[in-house]
Symmetry: T
Subunit: 147 residues, 12 copies
């Protein structure tokens, strides 16, 4: 199983930006934790950061061409109005799980990408990634069984 | 750990109502599965169904008085406009995890209760409950450690 | 043919509440008239009153389990925002005819349940019930022929 | 009893236009059926088709001058924004019954003329006309009794 | 000086329709009064009634071709949404004075044609026509002086 | 004088829920204080709590049948969208005084029930009940004098 | 006949402010013209200018106390949102004629005071005042006849 | 205890303006009654009327400088959009009680000043002032106790 | 190939109305040019002008009955709100190409008919018709090939 | 160079009102500082405070008549809805610089006067006045050069 | 003649993404077809793909500097909210033709770039490009003639 | 003192794009002027241009890592909807001053970034940059004093 994880706009500043909302774990520390959790599940995880919406689109088309199995994304700064990214998600056949560190409903926000997801997990801090990984593995296993 | 799971309006009809959206597992089958998963985690799970918003509020105050540790709810038909239930969630000190079988964003819906949740999980079919249980256990463990 | 007739919120006060809008016939007198009209058509009619939306939902699921053939409802006070009741109607397979004593369009009102009805009759006073009964009988007869 | 029935914009194409919504009975066949039903009730029925809102207004003033007793109309394409027709209905003293073949609420539509009707019947296919005729006869009989 | 006066949708019913709003003078009586007032001012007045927006447009293009000097109109039922008529007014070079018998602001209404008028007079009963005629004569006299 | 006091959704949690907004007096303590104040004024006070909108409607119809003189209500969680309750208030002839502990305007809230009240008192803490009782007594005395 | 004419906010700058819209006649020149026209009609005209909404309200109450017969006003800068002035007009029994130099509809504006007027005249330049005076005289004469 | 009572725009016309809404007691009579009630409570009451929003602001700053203890205001015509007055209330430290003679909710109105009040009383006729005085006395007594 | 070209409301005034927007070519000159271009392509072109929406509907049903192959229309004044015409387009099976002389997006306009078109061409002056003719020929040829 | 500085509604309370937003410098201290800065630049500065919108309008017309060169204004409480003041600014030919102590965008506010300014400076505390003075001097110098 | 053709966000996935909407021709095949059609017309065509809005802006400024004659663009994923790109189009002097494969009106979409185009062509499948090329050649030829 | 100045989307075209709005000074000439002014104040100024929002985000994070003291930005084409950039500004601790050449309020525009600025300066042509530099220097000096 190969999974692409995209960290959207401003995620590189994790642990520094608004720690009262996003916590103090840095991007590098999070990557290490997630790679360990992926390895435990026998999953190959490719983590990419970008502040540029079109670059994220490029990552996704490249992954689709390479036969990656699934996409997890914390759209972060892209959640507001990344309609081109939304069309990209709609166009590729990758199952998509959306994760958010904070509960975006509590903050009065709404992700324009969420309509394209299989499912969404938000508000559990960094555990949102762990739960998202678990959810993606379950999705991919079911597809394999049905295939 | 004692957890209350509320199944909101119309959930009793699970497996019969719109199976293309909610699947064919019945309410009774789901209860059995969730009790097994709770037992595996050493959690005592109390499952309640109601079609009446005020009755769900009564369940929650009763649980709060009884010292229950957490609340998982699929608000179902309550998600549209259950503002009194929302105020109840805001008033009690129980951590709340909201789950939805389908991805409500894809269906253009929005839960007025979600602002009161620690986090939300939606779109993973019945696995949303499993992930919600996992999320709640993690929340309660952290609180114990910090306490 | 067995038909459930639900009288929604505040209908128990019929004949007393705003008689310039709803007339002076009481709930009991209306029931008598409708039972007579149903008997003429060989229809068994079960009339229920409730001021609680979730109780009306309970009536409908019970009827669906009992094999009732059709549902006529004057949602009355439920027409404003009974979204859980709307989902219930969407989920059960009973044909539904909605009736209103007054012309709700003239009063600037809109029923959120109407989208789930086979058809709607409004504005003919208590004759709306008679016409609704006639319409339901026609619907059920066609279904029998096609079955 | 003399009744004018107006078939609004696009009704001439009945049976051809969107048969999945409006059925396959043609305008001519419907006219024949309705004349038979009117005759059964001793009603003289004048049926007019028009695609031009102002022409429908002309029909109504002519009928009002001729002493016609009531108006049944399926506004069809006029229901969207025929405000001049609405003012005409408000101005003449003819009782008006509005009918629709399909349930316009289910289709997210709203008739601007409905506020001027005694009552509305929608969603019962061609039976909407039959029920509308029945409703009009009841209205006119009551007025005679009261007069 | 030649002036076209258009009486819009439903004006033929003047004196009969909603007399508490529009008074009891009939269309024929009004015509007579206005012809007398026009004659006093040496104005040739052509009065046309129509319930069909496109027919009113036809009247205006015909008048423009014939060299008529000005247009007075009570749009009546056309004031709601006669955008094609509005474009026509914008296209022809006739000065246009809009009149209304009742004060349309008091009734919460707004004329989409008013933007194309030199000026508007509303609320003075049938005197609105007299004042409109006076206003048009003043407009045409100024143009003559400037020409 | 007999007065019904209804405490709406979540009021049972008074003194526990959001004490920074609603204070620390419990529901039982409030009841005691109000009964004392009622006794001082020679008023018989019946206090009911409910989290279910339809149950509150039932209380009101029962009171109306029993000849109760007036209704004081803190709608609490019902103030958001209890349209059926609003219709009930409109239908019964009981004078209604609405009270709120906090100033709901300051909190950006609006009660859909307030249109049916004789008057409203909000923002004076528990004194809102005292002032409401005083206001009701004045209303009932005036009615007696005029009767 | 005694008439009060109020010139609202910014009218003192007439002839200087936006002459392409309002022309080059100054306030003083306009006053002279209007006094002459009033004298021709045997009308006593009191002209007041104010930039302060509440001061205009004071003028109106003073006039009402003094037995003035009618009010003409060009609300000018007050037309946007002078709701207190609107309530004042609603409260006094003076007939009110509203005038505007430019066609406010063409400029996308709407006067919140217009609902309180007997009628409105807009767009005829300074002739709007002359027509307004004519209209007021006609209103007052009718009242005298009927009185 | 020294209290300032401001009567907002159009209140000077009390008893004359819309008596079906505001009653027939005049401003002078009301003042007399309120001074008597204030005297009974040992309160010094300063009553001011103004039709000019900015003048009301001046009154409030003067009172704040003079050490007045509280402000009662019936904003009347200021309630629509007196945002500068609202900022003034927010800036001074005087406790503010807002009163309305009629129930403004029933009339579809909303006061922009209400967010700044300790509490609001509306709908009890002139008793609204009496209840407002009582409420203010209670507020000031509590502050004294706590001080 | 037989094609109907409808010129909507106000198109007869082409070359005269707002020449800065629509150019100076008259309707007659345009017809001649288009007939020549149609002849070059071996297409029979029937050009109709109407200011009456319902008359345009009549043209389309007549064409559909006569076996015309396609419809090109510049809706002009109909584009604002011709919902009955829109329903007609939806009902007939003629391929429809919509053309506009000016770029309607630049002018902040939107055609309610455009949803029913195969495609739209706007902004190229009279070349919009030429391109529309070319587009229609391509559409019809493809259908022939597929048929 | 002569410059008028208007301090809008509630500015007299500077240093007292919401010091966490506006600081603790009083109006008198600010005046002194600004007069010193103006003197340094050889500018004659006339500072006026008003809580009454129409009075501010009066100041501006008086200044325009007196040949003042420019206007700086902190509209403060006038920024919400002072449309008459906005029209005044549009009508006089004085260059206008708007200043705000706090960043009004951060506070979700918008000045209706800003459209009439040459430019706006907001958010720099009392330095906003200094920067505004600097900006005005630059504007006036350029005009002198070009004149 | 040199023309730049920009293929906006997600166009690289043409033929793969939603083929039921966009068809099965790939981006490479389309390029080949368009180069052939350009060659037939003696046009030099430069085709660029980008998923990054700012990169498309860079392409346009580079082309403007290089003396390219015209721009054809299918904005695709940029049509939703590419306001910076819109400003770029407004700033450069290149004539711009916008093309869409599908009829965007039918899909309820609107391009924010369309206001800047000479004209728009949408809904004709890949023929939209051919028609766009034809339209651009006509525009450039006219400019040459006029130049 | 080290300051980063970002010139947002389309600023590279300064002096060419819409010179009636932005003037004829080119980007290179502006840079030279600003470097001179910065040198006069002993400020090191780093000027960057970008048409890509995410690239601007990259510049800001790089500057934050490098210890730059403040950020001045003319967001230009980014002001419409650069929410990711807004989040970036919110996350870094750099004081931010926003500048605009034209008065964006006059043009009906609003910057989504302005909420994150210390202050905003708009409408003074290229002097907006000079004033912005002055403002930033004052901000940084105060911080030094307080530090």
């Amino acid at each position: 199983m190969r999974i692409l994880l995209i960290q959207g706009a401003n995620m590189e500043w994790l642990g520094i930006r608004q720690p009262e909302v996003y916590g103090r774990t840095t991007a590098a520390e999070l990557d290490e934790r997630l790679q360990a959790e992926a390895a435990d599940r026998g999953v190959s995880l490719d983590i990419r950061y970008s502040n540029i919406e079109g670059e994220a689109i490029n990552f996704i088309y490249a992954a689709a061409r390479d036969g990656v199995d699934g996409l997890i994304m914390n759209p972060a700064g892209f959640h507001y109005n990344a309609y081109a990214l939304r069309d990209c998600l709609r166009g590729v056949s990758l199952p998509y799980v959306e994760v958010h560190i904070s509960n975006i409903d509590s903050r009065g926000m709404k992700s324009v990408l969420a309509t394209e997801a299989v499912g969404m997990i938000s508000g559990f801090g960094l555990d949102s990634y762990t739960l998202g990984l678990e959810a993606m593995v379950r999705i991919l296993k079911k597809r394999t069984v049905q295939g």
